[in-house]
Amino acid sequence: MYKTMVRIRRFEDTIHIRFLKGTLPGTVHLYQGQEAVAVGVCANLRNEDVVASTHRPHGHAIAKGVPLKSIMAELYGKETGCCKGKGGSMHIGDASVGMLPAIAIVGGGLTIAAGCGLAFKMRGTDNVAVAFLGDGATNEGDFHEAMNMAAIWNLPVIFVCENNLYGASTHIKLVCKLENLADRAAGYGMPSAICDGNDVLAVHECASKAIKRARSGGGPTFIECKTYRIGGHSRSDANAYRDKEEEKLWRARDPLIIAGNKLKDMGAMTNSDITAIDAEIALEIGEATEFAEASPLPSGDECFTHLWAD
């Protein structure tokens, strides 16, 4: 899990620099600081389980097993990208590893995740659907409908709310009276849990319970992971609206450092292991970059393909 977190962090750092340099088209919403959530949750999942993600999907995608090179190629707009260059950063998806194409509309993936859970239940499998959402999404109407439906039909859906305290530039305190978003679940008769979203072991354990519940027919759970976004909302955001003290507090709780220290304390990892992992990841990212740069852009007539299933 530590390695996957590093993979996400270094990938996002790399992408950020490329965007600042103007190498890549469009925009990105980066995941640094929240790695423990994606990794802690997805480490419990199978390929056949699905993840519904958001406009900030890279961390979820990497944690679910989408290869770095196909994400990189997608960001470059190349035809070898996971979505053949048709989707871009906010729609990263890969059917072979259960990553639904991320839905960029805030809250838009939640009812879809419920539908996936419905299908799993109808077919009698014990697969689960994980719906990632941010704190801001809990105010969208679709959140209400998805939560209620999942509850009344006992669907195998885990709603993982990454409360990073901001919906774009708006602090959660301005838009919600609750201290804990998990309290909203009670309104639907749905069990909930709160965990430290910067501690991958805590997330893993919390998610594991919820996933077991879903697999055994116990229905949905809402998990609130308290976390923080190191970067801005999107690449062009310098976080001027954030309180400096708040930022300082959270930077001191870097999930990679927390995990690294825990592993070292347990004797499971040494400093040279950490260096080795960094080097390995750097190599992976280098290979992914080479792949992306060498891949062709799609030809113009690809604009018209993949509209219809034949």
């Binding site: 059917a95 539908g115 009344i152």
Partner: protein, 352 residues
């Protein structure tokens, strides 16, 4: 033994047969399966939950976004849902799902996922006020990724339903409230008889194929849903004046059967489009523009559209008579393109 079925009965039979044929098919909507209930707002699913149970005729809360999204997710996982909203006006409660998700998921994922879902929605004015009266085809015709059907009779309705279920793409079927032929307490005032003889054997209606309703050499009327019948009434009257109109029912708005339409307009040189949707940006505007662009030299007159005016639908019956295209307005339009009109026309503002 082929029997006569109403529009609602034919759709019901189509749903039943598809659910028997393929265990992945299920219905999801409000009030569709409730014991001793309505069988949907217009009786289409009446009795189906007795046969298939409440998991395959799945009643939802009043959550259009929820049910549309659930249909999308289930379809992405290989099920074949038939979702419905009780009135097409409620599609606006799930527009994110209808526009941003269902028709875009395949494209955005580079073909990685499909969404084989059906959404059914009734359109049309029935004295229930502006929010239960719209015809919304054009909003979705504008959105790439939806196949859109609009059957005008029981035979087509059943065949189109089956085609839609078997299609791997999102298919939106607009039905008309005045065509259902629902009986009892769900009966609609002023309903038309859209029943047909339904054969025993399995049949489907091919995607994107229009139907020639009436042959004629003088003018082409392109009309959908309830307007097919109004066009028919107009045609009988016009025949007495020596004008023989050809009536085409498109059956599908996307893909649209330009081949059949153009063959007709090349023959008649005149086109009148009739729809219950409002004038500005109604689906007729697209057809008119395309026709002008593609076969201008064959037109002897501008393409005329007979539509609802650009107002919300009024309630009071005399106002409704002004609002809904009548056979009188259709006749006027045909005479106009034949240069025989009396000089009246609808202004875009809704005035005269």
């Amino acid at each position: 033994m082929p029997g006569k079925l109403s529009y609602a009965e034919a759709i019901r039979e189509g749903i039943k047969e598809e659910m028997e044929r393929d265990e992945r098919v299920f219905c999801i909507g409000e009030d569709i399966g409730i014991e001793h209930g309505f069988g949907g707002a217009f009786t289409v699913t009446l009795g189906l939950s007795d046969i298939f149970g409440h998991e395959r005729i799945l009643d939802t809360p009043i959550s259009e976004a929820g049910l549309a999204g659930a249909a999308i997710g289930a379809a992405m996982m290989g099920m074949r849902p038939i979702a419905d909203v009780q009135y097409c006006d409620f599609l606006f409660c799930c527009m994110d799902q209808m526009i941003n998700e269902a028709p875009k998921i395949r494209y955005m994922s580079g073909g990685g996922f499909t969404v084989p879902m059906v959404m059914r929605a009734p359109v049309g004015v029935t004295a229930r006020g502006a929010q239960h009266a719209q015809s919304v085809e054009s909003y979705f015709m504008h959105c790439p990724g939806w196949k859109i059907a609009c059957p005008s009779n029981a035979y087509d309705a059943k065949g189109i339903l089956k085609t839609a279920v078997r299609d791997d793409n999102p298919v939106l079927i607009f039905e008309h409230k005045k065509l259902y032929g629902a009986k009892g307490i769900r009966k609609v005032e002023g309903a038309l008889d859209a029943s047909s003889l339904i054969p025993d054997e399995d049949y489907t209606i091919p995607v994107g194929k229009a139907r020639l309703v009436r042959e004629g050499a003088d003018a082409t009327i392109l009309a959908n849903l309830r307007m097919v019948y109004e066009a028919g009434f107009a045609a009988s009257d016009l025949a007495e004046d020596g004008i023989e109109v050809e009536i085409i029912d498109p059956r599908w708005l996307n893909p649209f059967d330009y081949e059949t339409l153009y063959a007709s307009v090349k023959k008649t040189g005149r086109l009148v489009i009739v729809h219950e949707d409002t004038m500005t940006g109604g689906w007729g505007a697209e057809i008119a523009a395309r026709t002008m662009d593609d076969i201008f030299d064959y037109l002897d007159a501008p393409v005329k559209r007979v539509c609802a005016p650009d107002t919300p639908a009024p309630f009071s019956p005399p106002l409704e008579d002004v609002y809904v295209p009548s056979k009188e307005r259709i006749k006027q339009a045909v005479k106009s393109v034949c240069y025989m009109d009396s000089g009246q026309s609808f202004l875009r503002s809704g005035g005269r």
